[in-house]
Point group: C2
Chain length 91, copies 2
């Protein structure tokens, strides 16, 4: 199943660590504070368990949204960017 | 159906206008650059059509993700915040 993880984290160091953990789990960055990718239920729970260790150290919010295939196929993107982020795999 | 809209927009004025449009459509802010709420298909398309007028003026990305009831019920939130954002309606 696909997941999207979005976060608001005020501390720069912790924000960087959260991004690194998300990459460790194979998620791809699709916006500055948004990652997307495939994770099974165990990995989702394990990842959030780990991220909790960071969120207790700072002011912030991390939200993980599971995205079923049907929803993923209806994602709408408007982009006017000149930097390279990973792609949200189109349908 | 629920939707989440996330955005990265470099221009402050345009970012503010995008947030205002999202509120106009009844979406609630759940993070600094993330909104959540219920929108039917027509309203979703109409909203993105309007947001396109902004994104062509600046460097940025706006992504709208439809979220079915099952996925919404499995949203996981980790929060350590002292500011008030609207709630992602819990299951």
């Amino acid at each position: 199943m696909y997941v999207m993880v979005i976060y608001d984290i005020s501390d720069d160091k912790i924000r960087t660590k959260v991004a690194e953990r998300l990459k460790d789990y194979g998620l791809k960055r699709i916006q500055y504070s948004a990652f997307f990718g495939k994770l099974n239920q165990n990995r989702r729970e394990e990842l959030m368990f780990r991220l909790n260790d960071y969120i207790i150290l700072t002011n912030g919010s991390i939200i993980m949204i599971p995205i079923c295939e049907k929803d993923r196929s209806q994602i709408i993107k408007l982009e006017n960017i000149d930097y390279e982020f990973d792609e949200v795999e189109e349908a």
